[in-house]
């Protein structure tokens, strides 16, 4: 039974749908309205980031009985068609975040969702910094700009609960299982720092297929890696507040 303030958040990332995947994922979404109030898609929705694959994704998540919010992942950027893919998704009724926020009305409860693709750079003490070659500076500055945008958006959002939706990870804990040498390409502590500063109830990400589901930011915000291979199930469901 749920009370009025309960919020059940379904989340999955890295579904990596290809043109041969039409209908494959959709069947697992049957009955989602019984299990959850909203569905969060944590990027890497396609394999190669083509518009054709974007259309497959849009059809898989079209007209669901729950609100769907998505961010894109690095695979969705591969063919330089990220904007076209995002507008296909929006036409299908999916809210696509791009370093901004949205407020969803879930019954009596307002859920603020902030996020975007995120980016890498590494983790405190073992991270790249904006120094030296232009290429390295651009790499780290990209993450910094994203983190700043999320911090602003989180502070602006007026809601009962706040959730951050990202493709890249804010912490190392949910990367455990991946080779440590590639951690700088899997996430950045700048994302965690921004979110710890502004505050949130939950941080959901994907990208690290061999990572671990559960972790926490240094500021105590719960982090969940919802990459499909990590979950091993169609989606995870996380309840905020006192639902049972």
């Amino acid at each position: 039974m749920s009370t009025l303030t309960d919020l059940r958040i379904a989340a999955v990332g890295d579904v990596h749908l290809g043109e041969d995947s039409r209908g494959h994922y959709r069947k697992h979404l049957e009955g989602i309205e019984e299990r959850a109030d909203v569905l969060m898609l944590a990027g890497d929705l396609t394999r190669h980031g083509t518009l054709e694959e974007g259309r497959v994704v849009a059809d898989e998540f079209r007209d669901l009985p729950v609100t769907v919010v998505a961010v894109l992942g690095n695979h969705d950027y591969h063919s330089d068609q990220q904007y076209e893919i995002a507008s296909e998704l929006r036409d299908a009724g999916v809210t696509v975040l791009d370093d901004d926020g949205a407020v969803l009305q879930c019954g009596e409860t307002k859920l603020g969702v902030v996020g975007g693709k995120g980016f890498g750079g590494g983790f405190a003490g073992k991270s790249a910094s904006e120094f030296g070659e232009r290429e390295i500076k651009n790499f780290v500055a990209h993450t910094r700009h994203i983190a700043e945008a999320w911090k602003v958006a989180l502070k602006e959002v007026q809601a009962d609960h706040r959730l951050v939706l990202s493709h890249y990870s804010p912490i190392k804990e949910t990367l455990e299982g991946e080779p440590p040498e590639i951690y700088p390409f899997l996430g950045s502590y700048l994302l965690a720092e921004a979110v710890d500063t502004a505050g949130a109830d939950l941080f959901v990400h994907g990208h690290a297929h061999k990572g671990t589901e559960k972790g926490m930011t240094p500021g105590g915000i719960r982090v969940r890696n919802v990459a499909l291979p990590v979950l091993g199930r169609a989606y995870g469901v996380y309840c905020l507040d006192d639902c049972d």
């Binding site: 990596h16 499909l228 169609a234 989606y235 905020l240």
Partner: protein, 82 residues
């Protein structure tokens, strides 16, 4: 003879960069003339494509495609965050 580390790195790059696969999470190990692919994908077609790209990249090696296919199962229990 080329060092096996370079061959393995080239195969791994091919699996990530080849338009047929774009798969980043596959482990490539070479032992003598044996090439092992390990990891998880969501379908038999992708596993076969990965095997094909690996074989084209290192045709002299004997390929062992040990990639597993993961089935999506129905969502399990909720987790309560309080």
């Amino acid at each position: 003879m080329e060092a096996p580390q370079y061959v393995a790195a080239r195969v791994q790059r091919a699996l990530a960069e080849d338009a047929r696969t774009h798969e980043l999470g596959i482990r490539v190990d070479i032992r003598g003339d044996q090439l092992f692919l390990r990891g998880q994908v969501d379908g038999a077609e992708q596993r076969e494509r990965l095997g094909a790209v690996a074989h084209e990249t290192a045709p002299a090696l004997h390929l062992h495609n040990e990639i597993k296919i993961v089935d999506i199962v129905e969502p399990g229990e909720d987790e309560h965050l309080d």
